[in-house]
């Protein structure tokens, strides 16, 4: 990927980060930690890699994404909104009664969401089924799936892992958000996953390990995964829980936090650019400086 394109994607990632902080801060509580650690991968997938059409979310020839760690829904909503799947002001309806943006992803409520998730482990199996179904139909689509490291405690993840390798699901590219934190503490203290790469390799997956906040490295890994034949791919991303949201990143425990617009505004300002502000999504600042320039609506 060209340096300019990388810089452009990094700028979009920053906007998605800001929108997500604003989205959760406006509500006052949410899964900020795990939302921040998947910003780069979602930016890259939706703004570079995946074949999707915001005007035709259920296009049968699209690429699919299953966000199996469904509690990071708010980041995906910000990503989809920037891509044009729905108006950005929806972001302020997060978790409100009657909303189309619930805390965990819902394929029946939100344009662009391919699978309902929230019970950890289940989305990953569904991704296997989607990959299998698409290959049965002879479609060229790729299925992307994102799981958490804590989520990887679930036995279901490893049932799916064996299944995908056995079925040679090479149209499946999965990511582990290895932020080393789950809800009650570090993965090392709660249930040690290491050596995670070796586990995936032993399960028959083409396994790579990259810095999950490095756009170029992520892109390279995806290209390498796409070139694989006959086996599924796992990209283990080293990430930081809370990445880029200053007050959250500074904490050891940031899984689910209460915070308001004052903290959100300060965190957004620290990312450079104007703070979006509590009413920004519903009002004037939208599309202004805060969202950067032209390329964001694409």
């Amino acid at each position: 990927m060209k340096a300019e394109r990388i810089a452009e994607l990094e700028r979009i990632a920053k906007e998605i980060r800001k929108l997500t902080i604003d989205e959760i801060g406006y509500l006052g509580v949410g899964h900020i930690g795990g939302a921040m650690s998947v910003v780069e991968v979602l930016t890259l997938l939706y703004h570079e890699t995946m074949r999707v059409d915001p005007g035709y979310p259920r296009d049968p020839d699209r690429d699919w994404l299953v966000l199996s760690k469904g509690h990071a829904g708010p980041t995906l909503y910000a990503t989809l909104a920037l891509k044009g799947f729905f108006p950005k002001d929806w972001l302020h309806s997060l978790n409100k009664g009657g909303t189309k943006l619930p805390s965990h992803c819902d394929r029946n409520l939100t344009p662009g969401i391919d699978m309902t998730t929230g019970s950890l482990g289940q989305g990953f199996s569904a991704a296997m089924g989607i990959a299998l179904g698409l290959s049965m139909e002879g479609r060229k689509s790729t299925v992307y799936a994102i799981i958490g490291d804590g989520e990887s405690d679930e036995g279901q993840v490893w049932e799916a892992a064996m299944f995908a390798a056995h079925r040679k699901l090479s149209n499946l590219i999965a990511f582990t958000d290895f932020n080393k934190q789950q809800l009650d503490g570090t993965t090392k203290d709660i249930l040690d996953l290491e050596s995670l790469d070796d586990k995936w390799r032993a399960f028959g997956w083409f396994t790579q390990r990259v810095d999950g906040h490095d756009m170029a490295a992520l892109d390279k890994a995806i290209q390498a995964a796409k070139a694989q034949a006959g086996r599924p791919s796992m990209i283990v991303m080293d990430t930081i829980k809370g990445k880029g949201c200053n007050f959250a990143e500074a904490l050891l425990s940031n899984h689910n936090m209460s915070f308001g617009m004052d903290e959100a505004r300060a965190a957004i300002a620290a990312l450079g650019g104007a703070a979006l502000g509590g009413d920004a999504l519903g009002g004037d600042a939208l599309g202004g400086d805060a969202l950067g320039g032209d390329a964001l609506g694409d």
Binding site: L27, V29, G30, G70, N95, K96, G97, G98, T99, P102, S103, H104, D106, T116, T117, G118, S119, L120, G121, G150, E151, D153, E154, G155, Q182, L183, D184, I190, L191, S253, H255
Partner: protein
């Protein structure tokens, strides 16, 4: 009115029990911060087993621990404690006649912002079909503490349905509780509400107050124990007034409404009967207040049902 977090009542009681009983162990599946048993872990680090996000394994491990004489209390959100581990709890714990206390937190609409995926309206229905299982939903911090003590003292599996949030005390600290015994919280000659859990008992008490202003005297039975059900208290109250309304933060199918319907039908109760609860719907996201209105669980809904019942019968 004095109140206390229900999860604090749970954790404090576990600490009290563990101090004198070394067999008490607590299991968590990466939701200790939600359940609030961190205080237990501080005092008994070796007796809090956090298995990670692996509920099925947790219930299996709890079953095995109980086979060695331990008394495991295992908790997770009620949606996972029921749906996700039903087979493990059914077979490894109950069918194997072991001694596992399973605690499901954030039942029904109290799951609020976690949304529809996390909102169990069916856990009681599932659990009620397990032979011999004891099922309790305490209505206040005092009954919560008491039933945790009773569960520890009794050999056999228990499902404890537990909202995490603060609830008002309805009973004094020394109040005696028993499995299979409901409490008559309020007498009333016109009709009786039979309510399960702190949310619904609270709403029924409010509805009774509204109705009193209209000259309708409504009683309230705090059911507490769904299984075994206090058939005598419920049937007596229903027959005395001729009208009964069940109230649960759960599907009307399979839970309290069904249990009372079965009881009334088998005993030829000819009076008026209505069920308040969720009507064949999935949960959704929102504040608890929004969801109480959305699913018709609030005092106004209960009062409406009472008014209709007064007209009809």
């Amino acid at each position: 009115m004095e109140s206390k977090e229900m999860r604090a009542a749970y954790a404090d009681t576990l600490i009290e029990l563990a101090t004198t009983n070394r067999d008490i162990v607590v299991l968590e599946a990466d939701l200790m911060r939600a359940t609030g048993t961190g205080s237990f872990q501080k005092l008994f680090p070796d007796r809090l087993v956090n298995v990670g996000v692996a509920e099925a394994n947790m219930v299996g491990v709890a079953s095995g621990l109980s086979a060695t004489g331990k008394i495991p209390f295992a908790s997770t959100f009620a949606c996972f404690a029921s749906r996700r581990v039903f087979d493990q709890f059914f077979l490894s714990a109950n069918y194997a006649r072991l001694n596992v206390k399973l605690v499901g937190t954030d039942p029904g609409v109290t799951a609020a912002y976690n949304g529809g995926t996390h909102m169990p309206f069916e856990d009681l229905g599932l659990m009620r079909t397990i032979p011999g299982l004891t099922i309790v939903e305490p209505s206040d911090p005092a009954s919560c503490a008491a039933f945790v003590r009773l569960a520890a003292a009794m050999y056999g599996c228990v499902y404890l349905r537990l909202p995490r949030k603060a609830a008002a005390f309805l009973y004094p600290a020394g109040e005696k509780f028993e499995f299979g015994r409901a409490k008559r919280l309020k007498e009333g000659k016109d009709l009786v509400f039979a309510a399960l859990g702190s949310l619904m008992v609270g709403e029924c008490l409010k509805a009774a107050q509204v109705l009193a202003g209209e000259g309708v005297e409504a009683g309230v039975v705090d059911v507490l124990c769904l299984k075994p059900l206090d058939e005598v208290t419920i049937l007596t109250a229903a027959k005395a007034t001729g009208r009964i309304i069940s109230a649960e933060n759960h599907q009307v199918m399979g839970g309290l409404g069904s249990a009372i319907a079965e009881l009334l039908a088998e005993h030829r109760f000819g009076g008026g009967f209505k069920r308040i609860g969720i009507r064949d719907e999935f949960g959704e996201v929102g504040t608890q207040d929004y969801l109480v209105k959305r699913f018709g669980l609030g005092a106004p809904d209960l009062a409406d049902a009472a008014r209709k019942l007064m007209k009809e019968s």
